[in-house]
Amino acid sequence: MRGRALLAVAVALVVLAVALTRLSANQYYYFAAYVIFQYVVLATAWNILGGYTGYVNFGSAGFFALGAYTAAILIKAFPVPFPVLLLAAGTVGGLLGLSLGYLTLRLRGVFFSIATLALAVVLQTLIVNWEYAGGSRGIYTMRPATVLFFDNYVEFLFVVMLILALGALATARWIEHSRLGRGLAAIRDNEEAAECMGVPTLRLKLVAATVSGALMGIAGAPFPYYVTYMEPASTFNLDYAVNSLAMPMIGGATTWVGPLLGAVLLGTAQQIATVTISSALNLLIVGVVLVAFVILAPDGIIGLVRRRRGGRHA
């Protein structure tokens, strides 16, 4: 599909979402859809560094939580308008991503991944010990009574997260089809050869890590309003780290469609399991599906589809 058709689809989706909030359906649907959209952002963000560039980040939960806490602390300190929360969380996430980018100077492969995990643990420890941010007891956030023309704040958050998801997808798609994306693919395939072929590998890795981190931070920004009560253990939850890595891998990590497919399929499955059985099953579902894909279809759903069609390289 060409860019214009996709843009039309995106606009139509937002209009449809706004129209849906007029239905005043069961609030649960907005809650569930929000979580799925949030995973579209996280998976897409992860994929810019992990799938396009080949640096596997195990610390997505840290980026997400940092965005969420940035917003929560700002809300507690000042009466800030909503867009400022997104901007601040994106900036903080982007700066953390930038520092992760510098890590790639010294660390590759599994060593890099372990460092990202350690980074998330360090961040969590900082928050746990920070009194103003609520420490381990957590932090409450009051939702504004009304916003724009929405009757209910969750309906507003549902539309916001949809727009963020579409924005993340547009960013990923733009990168993929740009010179930047081709350079990142060269780094993923062989970093030494890429550098020797004129690709400024460090600069490109810094850009990828910063964009990835910023998007993850933004994904966390509406979270305080969504849950209204946040504490470190659930905000730095392993679910975020595992899902944002598993979803692109299951969907297909070399294109922007992969994380979208993975997030929608796995996210929906998890929401259904949460309602029908228990949320404890979520990680189990992801684990089983991920193992199956790594063994049977290492290129994800996109890879399977391409093979069916006769394997033309796109």
């Binding site: 010179r179 081709r182 350079g183 693919a185 060269a186 993923r188 395939d189 062989n190 030494e192 050869a193 890429a194 550098e195 020797c196 072929m197 004129g198 690709v199 400024p200 590998t201 460090l202 070399t254 390289h313």
Partner: protein, 244 residues
């Protein structure tokens, strides 16, 4: 030979931990020259090329290219100045087609240096593939190439950076005699276009036929320099290759 000096390596040393892989090596390559770099296994040829291309930093000495001091420059900037190399163990971009492999240096090196000049990256890459004899594979995935095709891809990709100096690190190793002649013909054709070439090779027949001048490394030190005839008759070189 009156052409100017393109590459000037002055007293370069490289240590890996306590092991000195290069000891104050100096050499000069002129514009458009066909230059041979030989030496027994482990004598430091690839290490020297890594220091020149910027894949490794050197511990001592100075490297100048086309009048610039490039000793501390990152590899991608050296490529943009006009140094391109092939890898002894091919390092293709495996998720891409052959053509896409060439587009990386074309976009990132050649066009960074000549902005606007021939904006058609694909047409340019196709022309190089034709020259190298790989055009039939242009749209094939690089992951499925044969050994000789991989060697050709290494050379083609280096060419796509529009180098002034091409360094070929054992592009012929493991190939049949006919294939060696094929690569040799390619390198000669590239040199015809005015590109200086450093050929690293164990196949003496090829180096001797190709090179105008040869430098011999042994245990990280330069032990001889001269034309093919002088090198063949040099007792120090014979000793290095055959032992005592």
């Amino acid at each position: 030979m009156t052409a100017g000096i393109l590459l000037d390596v002055r007293g370069v040393s490289k240590r890996f931990g306590g092991f000195e892989a290069l000891t104050r090596v100096s050499l000069q390559v002129r514009e458009g020259e066909r230059f041979g770099l030989i030496g027994p296994n482990g004598s430091g040829k690839t290490t020297l090329i890594n220091c020149v291309s910027g894949a490794l930093g050197s511990d001592e000495g100075e490297i100048r290219f086309a009048g610039h001091d490039i000793t501390r420059l990152p590899a991608h900037q050296r490529t943009r100045l006009g140094i391109a190399r092939s890898f002894q163990i091919p390092k293709p971009f495996v998720s891409m087609t052959v053509l896409e492999n060439l587009c990386i240096p074309a976009e990132y090196a050649a066009h960074a240096r000549f902005p606007g000049a021939g904006a058609d990256v694909v047409a340019e890459a196709m022309e190089i593939l034709r020259l190298i004899g790989l055009e039939a594979k242009a749209h094939a995935p690089a992951a499925g190439l044969t050994q000789i095709e991989l060697r050709k891809l290494e050379l083609a990709r280096a060419m796509a950076a529009r180098p002034r100096l091409l360094i070929s690190d054992e592009s012929m190793a493991g190939l049949s005699s006919a294939e060696v002649d094929e690569i040799l013909a390619i390198l000669l054709a590239l040199n015809e276009r005015g590109i200086a070439i450093i050929m690293i090779e164990h196949i003496m027949r090829a180096v001797m036929r190709f090179s105008q001048r040869i430098v011999v490394l042994d245990a990280g030190a330069r032990i001889a320099e001269g034309g093919p005839g002088e090198i063949l008759n040099n007792p120090a070189v014979e000793k290095a290759y055959l032992g005592e």
